[in-house]
């Protein structure tokens, strides 16, 4: 009897919880239905009464903004933008700092607890855009013409809808350690500016480095086995790493041709990954004087100045390939949650943070403005390093490729070492990567 009773108790408890959960689920669905109705109405309702009234009083209203953490300077810059905005509008901003934004934001979307406005990484945008969690933005209202068009495109879906506004951008450029270079008898101008010529130059440089500093002590150049860094090369000449169905096509003829060219460079032995050198990333290798050339984003600039002040360097454009210049750009946007409580205030914040507030943010955070007028007004070109990075924006490929890019990139990173070590041909390695990525995509669908 006691046994029965306790079993019953447990069962009732579990069932009631399940029932409760289910009922709540149903509630949730209703709620959702209601909110989606609301949100679908918002564009119309918001346009009518608003008209031209930017100085609305938002006193007493609170906006939550989801961000990810940054270094000291970034936090300070954001705090400044926030306090300026608060003075201007009378609203209060509450920050939610994500430490693992993908996991946390997904939980927040599922639970319906996401902040009103949040950062959206360019590469994650296509996925979030499929989830009905982002509020559609009106291009005229948000003034999207002011932004670099390739960055704006990164936040536009295939059917032309805009769900986020780029708040900043970073680009890759070539960093050269001038002391090391000159120590083996070269000048910066001796470094050729095309990848094709680097195939012969890098081994020469490596030989001189080996002679002077001992074999393997200093590497001519570092690179990353990451599509986020190499996509602009792999997709040259009309090649694409995914097809219309977003299935992986790393082993397609066009991609392989470009990849094989990169392998030619790698096989010179003068191009290594930070991991091969035993370090975490290019910045550490370069900062500790263990490589002469690296390709990095502008975030490394402040880092070098702060942590490795002895290193002297110059920054140049990315090398051209097949006669064309290109680079990668990484943009982050602000998006509004589709169930946001303060939609108007959220729009106001985005307009401010990506408008008047942008220069404060960009200057502090060490990234580039996502609009040309701000770049001009800030006189970014006064700093030669930032000038170079800025010049890369227009021909850069934004790091984004459909919803399957993280799967394809994982598969790529998984198999590229076997191609580099010579265990597999690049064709075999990429065929395996394709198979694995596509299995994963099919399992998910």
């Amino acid at each position: 009897m006691k046994k029965l009773l306790s079993m019953l108790l447990v069962l009732v408890l579990v069932l009631s919880m399940v029932g409760c959960g289910k009922k709540d689920d149903a509630d949730k669905k209703e709620e959702e239905a209601v909110t989606t109705e609301e949100t679908s109405e918002t564009p119309e309702t918001s346009e009518e009464p608003k008209a031209q009234e930017p100085e609305t009083d938002y006193s007493g209203k609170k906006l939550t903004v989801g961000i990810w953490g940054g270094n000291d300077a970034e936090s300070a810059a954001l705090a400044q933008v926030i306090s300026d905005f608060e003075t201007k509008t009378g609203a209060t901003i509450e920050l939610k700092t994500y430490t693992d934004i993908n996991t946390q934001l997904q939980a927040d979307f599922i639970g319906g607890t996401a902040p009103d406005v949040f950062y959206v990484d360019g590469s994650m945008f296509p996925f979030y855009a499929t989830l009905d969690v982002l509020l559609e933005l009106d291009p005229v209202e948000m003034g999207t013409d002011a932004y670099y068009s390739n960055l704006m495109d990164a936040f536009t879906t295939k059917d032309g809808k805009i769900y986020a506004i780029p708040k900043d951008v970073s680009t890759l450029a070539t960093y050269i350690n001038t002391d090391l270079l000159e120590s083996v008898g070269y000048k910066v101008s001796d470094i050729p500016d095309s990848l094709e010529e680097l195939v012969t130059f890098l081994p020469e440089l490596q030989k001189k480095l080996d002679d002077k500093y001992g074999a393997g002590e200093i590497t001519a150049m570092t690179y990353n086995q990451d599509l986020a860094r190499n996509l602009h090369i792999f997709e040259r000449n009309g090649a694409s790493i995914i097809d219309d169905e977003e299935m992986s096509t790393l082993s397609s003829e066009g991609v392989l041709k470009n990849l094989d060219f990169m392998m030619e460079l790698v096989n010179t032995g003068a191009l290594k990954t930070p991991a091969e050198i035993g370090l975490g990333w290019n910045g550490e290798v370069f900062g500790t004087g263990k490589c002469v050339i690296m390709e990095e984003g502008n975030w490394v600039y402040g880092n070098l100045k702060q942590n490795y002040p002895d290193i002297k360097f110059e920054v140049r454009d990315m090398p051209s390939y097949l006669g064309e210049k290109s680079s990668m750009s990484f943009t982050v946007g602000y998006a509004i949650y589709s169930k946001a409580k303060e939609v108007e205030l959220a729009k106001e914040w985005i307009k401010y943070a990506t408008g008047d507030g942008m220069s404060t943010w960009v200057a502090g955070a060490g990234c580039l403005p996502s609009r040309e007028d701000v770049a001009k007004a800030m006189n970014i070109e006064a700093d030669p390093v930032m000038k170079t990075h800025l010049s890369q924006i227009e021909y850069s490929v934004p790091w984004q490729k459909g919803t399957t890019i993280s799967i394809v990139n994982s598969a790529y990173q998984n198999y590229i070492p076997s191609a580099v070590s010579g265990e597999m041909t690049t064709a075999d390695a990429m065929a395996k990567a394709d198979k694995q990525a596509n299995d994963e995509i099919k399992n998910s669908r």
Partner: protein, 308 residues
Amino acid sequence: MHSNEIAVSRQKYTKRERREHRQGYLFLTPAIIVTSIFIGLSVLFVIYLSFHKVNLFNRTYTLVGLDNYIRALTDETTRVAFKNTLTFSVIVVPIQTFLALVMASVLNSKIKGKMIFRTVYFLPTLTSSSALTLIFMFMFSVTGPINGMLIHMGFYNKGINFLQNPNFSLKVIMAMNIWSTIPFYMTLYLATLQDLPDSMYEAAEIDGANAAKKFFYITIPYLKPMTAYVLLTSIIGTLQMFDQAYIFSNGSGGPANSTLTVSLMIYRYAFGTQNAMGFAATLAIILAVVILLLSLLSQKITKSERLY
């Protein structure tokens, strides 16, 4: 019907037994309430998900029956992940357990400074895992001390990239896992050994038993129940291994899938960009069944069900 049952149970058990039953349930109630709400429900939900194609964002659940299971069981990558995970477990669990046993019995013997040794040996458990991983990755890097030592000893003359070589990467993680978890189990064994009567060792000594004999005929049998627990947690811990594989491979499971574990796969499906929570749940259930079977096997071996 209800009163009938009461009558039956009245007949079956004495008053004293019934009181013991009541006490048993009472002692267990808090644990059962907490675990059934916060784990039990989630587990039921995961089982439910595993039979569905799920989009949690708009709460659509499409029943797909055993489809996820069939896909999972025929998937090549899943097989690789299970192979890696089982290899990892089969090698790590026995070594871990045995070394922890030996060290605990050594530190329980009459040696000087055991307090200091015990404290020092516990430190890896306290050291942050990011610090541990960094140090390990440095030690095994191309220019690191392990390569330096092996080159110096003349095994080869060019550093091996242990972290990026599919033949070594999983082994490096194994070494790290063994090294960092031994202290945990050792401490447990030591705590249990505090209740082992000295008289048993003394009697054995009079009979002329040496240290090895005492270890195998007294210490090991006495620690059997705790060994059952150590094996259980070690099996679960190794088969669910995630963090180290994630950090080592940057989440890719590479190179060439050599560090791909089942948990890593589950995470990738669950939080990937394809809404594959249903498939992730299926992999989790399959992994759970494998763990359960191995745990039961280990319990059979240690035969801990005794002494009631």
